[in-house]
C-alpha cells in the first residue's frame, strides 16, 4: 500500500498491541489502543512499586502523581507551563468542579453559554448546575455559531473539537471574544488533546478539561485532567473539599484549606493505577512530536474524505473540508448506516455509530494506517 510506505510515522504502528481479528480500528479517538509497553508497565508497578514499596510509595512517588502527569500533558500537548494541569476524577466531575469554580469568580453574572452539539456529559452537567443555581443557560448551536458574547455571561463552555462533527473551533479567537465581554472560558479538550496542537497559556485560556483514554491511550476510564490558568489559581475554589485538595493532607487538620497550587482541584486519593498507562503514549508523543502527529492526522482525515467522496458519494460529510477547522476524526451520515454498523463490527471493521445516522471515523495518527482507512471505507461502501 503506497501511502503507508511513504508515511514517516508508519513504523510506530508496531508499538501498539495487536487486536483479535481486526481489519480496521477506526475508533482510536474514542478508546486509544494500548502500547506494547503498557502491560509490562502495569505488572511491574504491581510487583515492584505497590507490592514492593507499599505505603512508602505515597511519600516516594504517588502523592504528587496527578500533578506530575498533569505537567507532562501540559508540556507535551497543551502549551501549558507547569503547575496548572492536574489529573484526577472523571471529565464529568472535573467539569462540575470547574463550572462551579468559574461561577464563583463571576458572582454578578447569571448566564452560561453552552453548545447544543456538545458531548452529552458537558450539556448535562452544566444544565444540572444552572437548574440548581437558578442561572440562565444560553444555548448556541455549536462553537461555529458563536459570534458575540453578551456582557451578562459568566462562563462560555465549548469543546475545542466537536465530538460528532469533528469541527475544530477557533479557540484563541473565541477566548478573546469571551474575555472582551468579561466572561471566562472553559474548553473541553477531550477530542483534541494529543492530536491537535494547543497553546492554552499563549491563548489566554482560563479553564480546560480533557480526557486521557482517547488520543492519550490511558485505558478504559482512565482519569481526566483539568487546567486552571495560573492567574486564576489563588482565587479558585471548587466545591468538593476533599483532603487531597489540601497542601498537607497527612496532617489531618481541623479544617479544609485549599492547597496553594493546582492541587486544590483534587478531592480524593490520586487514582494511581489509572494514571500509569498514559505514560507510554506521552513518551511516544514526545518522541514523535505533536506537529508531525497533526500533519499525519490531517492527511488521514483528508484521505478518508477523498475515499468517501469516491466510494460512498451519497453519504453526507458532517465534518469541515477545511483541514484548519477539522480535528482528528470525521463523521459521515447516511440512512443505511444504522443497519450497517453491526455488520461492519462483525467483520472486524470498527467505526463508531453516532445517532441518528452517522458513522464516525476516528483516526488516531500513531496507531492508524492509511490501509486501515481504505479497508474501512471500502467495507462501509460494500455494507450499504
Amino acid at each position: 500500500v503506497p501511502r503507508d510506505s511513504h508515511d514517516a510515522l508508519a513504523p510506530y504502528l508496531d508499538r501498539f498491541v495487536d487486536s483479535d481479528g481486526m481489519l480496521a480500528y477506526l475508533d482510536g479517538n474514542s478508546l486509544g489502543r494500548p502500547l506494547k509497553a503498557t502491560a509490562p508497565r502495569l505488572a511491574a508497578f504491581v510487583e515492584q512499586s505497590w507490592g514492593g514499596r507499599l505505603i512508602r510509595g505515597w511519600d516516594e512517588d504517588w502523592m504528587g502523581l496527578g500533578e506530575r502527569v498533569g505537567d507532562r500533558i501540559g508540556a507535551s500537548c497543551l502549551g501549558a507551563a507547569a503547575g496548572q494541569t492536574v489529573v484526577g476524577d472523571s471529565t464529568s466531575v472535573l467539569l462540575y468542579k470547574l463550572i462551579h469554580a468559574a461561577l464563583r469568580l463571576r458572582p454578578d453574572r447569571r448566564v452560561i453559554v453552552a453548545a447544543r452539539d456538545d458531548f452529552p456529559t458537558d450539556r448535562y452537567v452544566v444544565a444540572g448546575i444552572a437548574e440548581e443555581r437558578g442561572l440562565e443557560l444560553r444555548w448556541v448551536e455549536s462553537a461555529a455559531h458563536v459570534d458575540e458574547i453578551a456582557h451578562d455571561v459568566a462562563l462560555v463552555l465549548l469543546s475545542a473539537v466537536a465530538y460528532r462533527s469533528g469541527y475544530l473551533a477557533d479557540v484563541p479567537a473565541l477566548t478573546r471574544l469571551a474575555h472582551d465581554s468579561g466572561a471566562l472560558v472553559l474548553w473541553d479538550l477531550c477530542h483534541s488533546v494529543g492530536v491537535v496542537p494547543t497553546e492554552l497559556d499563549a491563548w489566554g485560556v482560563d479553564l480546560a478539561v480533557g480526557c486521557t483514554y482517547k488520543y492519550l491511550n490511558g485505558g478504559p476510564g482512565s482519569p481526566a485532567f483539568a487546567y486552571v490558568a495560573e492567574a486564576l489559581l489563588p482565587e479558585l475554589r471548587q466545591p468538593i473539599h476533599g483532603w487531597l485538595g489540601t497542601d498537607r493532607p497527612f496532617e489531618m487538620g481541623r479544617a479544609y484549606e485549599p492547597a496553594d497550587g493546582i492541587r486544590r482541584m483534587l478531592s480524593g486519593t490520586p487514582p494511581v493505577i489509572g494514571m500509569l498507562a498514559m505514560h507510554d503514549m506521552l513518551d511516544l508523543i514526545d518522541e514523535v512530536g505533536l506537529a508531525a502527529i497533526r500533519q499525519k492526522s490531517v492527511a488521514l482525515t483528508q484521505y478518508a474524505i477523498e475515499l468517501v467522496d469516491a466510494r460512498i458519494p451519497d453519504a453526507v460529510l458532517a465534518t469541515p473540508r477545511d483541514a484548519g477547522r477539522r480535528g482528528g476524526h470525521i463523521t459521515i451520515d447516511h440512512p443505511a448506516f444504522v443497519d450497517a454498523v453491526p455488520r461492519l463490527w462483525e467483520q472486524g471493521v470498527l467505526p463508531d455509530f453516532r445517532a441518528p445516522d452517522g458513522i464516525r471515523l476516528g483516526l488516531s495518527p500513531l496507531s492508524t494506517s492509511y490501509d486501515e482507512v481504505e479497508v474501512g471505507v471500502e467495507a462501509i461502501a460494500r455494507a450499504i
Copy 2:
C-alpha cells in the same frame, strides 16, 4: 512461631506479593498488599481485553463493571442485595454526592450531625456543603458520643470504624436512633469493609460509602463504592449529572434523565483499570469467608494489645479493649512515637504515624502474620 502455626488462615499469607526488605507491614488497613494474581490480571487485561476487544469491550464487559463489582462487594462484605452498590469516583466525591442527595430527601431539615474524630475528607466535604448551603453542622466528639438525635437533623454522617481509634460503632443501634427522629444515616465504611461483617440491608442503613484500597486491596487510589438502600433509589438525585448516570448513555440524548437504578450515582466513564485488582481480594474473601476473617482480625488486634501492654506499658491504648467495639486496627499513643516512626520505617517495620503522637497498627487479617505483629511491637518497644 507457634501462633502462626496454629492459624488456619496462615496459608493465605503466601498469596500476597513479597515486599523489599520488609520485616513487618502494619499498614494493610491503609494500603492493602497486592495478591500475586493481580499483576498477571492487569497485564492480561491490557493485552486481551483492552488491546484485543478495544471499543467492543464497552458493550461486552466494561459498561456495567461498576455495578457488577458493586454487587460483589455488597454480597461479599456489606450484606447488601444486588442493585444498591456501585463502584466509581473517589470516596470524597461519593460523599459529596450522597450528602447532597440526602439533603434533598429532607428538604425541611437544616442540620447535619458529624463527628470531630472522623477522617478529614468526611469532615471537610460535609463542612463545605454546610457552608455553601447555609446549614448547621452539629459536631459530636465521636460515634461513641451519640446518644440522641434531634428532630431537626436531616443527616447523620459517621464512620463504622474510626480511622484513628479503631472504635467500631454500633451501626444498627445508631441507625435506628437516627430513624426514630426522621433523620437519614450515611455510614463511611472505609475502615470496616472487608474486615468487619456488615449487614446494611438488615440494619436498614440508608446510605454508605467506602474505600477499596484498604482491606479490599484494589491498589493505590482505586475507586470507591456507594450504597443506596433500594427504597430510596427512585427519589435519589445526586448533583453531578454526568452521562454515565443515565440508562442509555450512548443514545446521547438531549437532557439528563437519571438511570432507574444505582447507576444514577455515577457521573463519568467507569474507571475500568482501577476496578480490576480488587477482584483478586474479593475472590479470596469469598474463599475464606468474612466470619473467619473477622475472627482472625479480633485475635490479631487482641495479640497486639497484649504485646503492647507487656512491652510498651507507658503507651496509651486509644482503641477499645472490648473486641466487640474494635475494628481491624489499633492505635497507641506515646510522645516518643513521632521520632520513632521514621527509624522504624528504615528498619522495614511499617506502621502508620497519626499526629500528634499515635502509632496505628493496621492488621489486615489475610496478609498479616502473628509473627509480624510481634516483630513490629518489639521494634517499637526498642525504638523508644
